[in-house]
Subunit: 319 residues, 2 copies
Amino acid sequence: MTYGTIATWRMAHEGVIKATELLKKQKSAGDAVETLINRVEAYPYYKSVGYGGLPNEQGVVEMDAAFMNGDDLAIGAVAGIQNVKHAVSVARKLSKLHFNSFRVGEGATRYAIQNDFEMVNMLTPRAKKIWQNRLLEIQEKKLDPYDGHDTVGAITLDQQGSMAAATSTSGLFMKKPGRIGDSPLSGSGFYVDSEVGGAAATGLGEDLMKGCLSYEIVRLMAEGRTPQQACDQAVYPFIEKLQKRYGKAGEFSLVAMNKAGAWGVATNVEFTFSVGNDKQVPVILMANPGPDQTTCIEPITQAWLDAYEKRIKAPIKSL
Amino acid sequence: MTYGTIATWRMAHEGVIKATELLKKQKSAGDAVETLINRVEAYPYYKSVGYGGLPNEQGVVEMDAAFMNGDDLAIGAVAGIQNVKHAVSVARKLSKLHFNSFRVGEGATRYAIQNDFEMVNMLTPRAKKIWQNRLLEIQEKKLDPYDGHDTVGAITLDQQGSMAAATSTSGLFMKKPGRIGDSPLSGSGFYVDSEVGGAAATGLGEDLMKGCLSYEIVRLMAEGRTPQQACDQAVYPFIEKLQKRYGKAGEFSLVAMNKAGAWGVATNVEFTFSVGNDKQVPVILMANPGPDQTTCIEPITQAWLDAYEKRIKAPIKSL
């Protein structure tokens, strides 16, 4: 039977491998997507998600996450949650509730504590050093404080035909306290319907939420578009619209998978992602915007992977 | 030139009158919608919005609000904000920022303080008494704690052809701390595009966000549907879908207006709203679900209005 997983960024790859193994063994789409995101959350060298995620301007790691069940459309989400190791697992648990399934700030953190989720100081010494350096740089060089906001967003399809979507992020580096982006917002950061397919986003949340692009991609798939057509047709015209109407558009990258395990992506920047299904072992690919509102997809090179590995683990010198 | 306003619930009526006056004088859609919502926020007898709004289960009034500019699609939002008299005005100010325009929890409250917004204890003696009584009732009669979650949501169209949308709510009565609904979520609680029209929602946020109905209504209007067709076609099939897939559907009521000032509503409960434009002085109307996925709209009766007035001002006896 068909199964599959797609997720944003190279950082998701080990999680995609694990999720694909689970799906091959007929595990559920919900378990697979949670396991995938948990892997990214736990890896300290990914500086935009979970443990090791970069803090807000005050040095506090505030996280946003969501989970959606494509069978019954149930959604759970948290935003501005602190000190919890696996924000997406809190979101998944909340998705079982009919009321109070989206919690923010201290209420979200307290829910996690009261429900026995593992709490940990999410500010790693490495992330703290990056934050301290950035504070100095901003003061000295008047740099733009906002840089780096790579959400892990994933869609899974299991052999029973169920689908799930999930996201997790520490949000914009140097964000203002309490700032949230699109990642926990249904329709913007994610959307999934097991009878159609799902989509998830990464990029500048403030602009992504102006377009409800994850919902729009799923809707276009419901109308009969392939995932790639749906991504191209939802994302590129909206970026043009935003440039015309708002004067600019932030970084946008979206991934999608339909109920047959076919997939698509669209992006306005260099964008890596990982995808696997019953026909294809998980692989990291690179996407770039192509001509005429299309997307160029090519294999990742070993040179790119080596440089990435070196970059994320490079020693951080104190300024 | 054309102008118009539509807003959810009878409570919005005085605000709709004021907004319509402003629009008649060629004021902007943004000013009109903020003024409308501010009126509702300031009136102590409306127990689901602003001052006098009902608190969460711990007795804390936590508010959610959003503002969207239909010209440039800019969005500002706050969720779980406390002690601020006009949450929607904070949201509107945030909508001017490209980054950090959606703030939750303590970060949202601090932003309001640092930006000189009027702070006030939002828990009126009346709301406190209702809350204390409900705590007792829940203990004694094992009542469902969730009841009353009427958001004010509004769309305005000005004579310059600009449109705006805004929402404000204290959310579910007896909600868990940090719970947020659809009101601050783009595409679910509200959406507006000056080249098409806008929509806003009230009802059970946890279910509304499963469908991104405000976005979907605007999209259907962009495809050529009238506001009434768009409301009917977006809302009723989704309620059926939710009943089938999720097993139930909460209360849903949506209002819409297009760029010509035409309007529509859809609802699965008895629902009052207020609407005015250049051809029609503001009027309170009542909507109910009709046959075959349509909406029945009729004038409000004086008896209903009298009973409403009496109900919202009835003395609260301590249990």
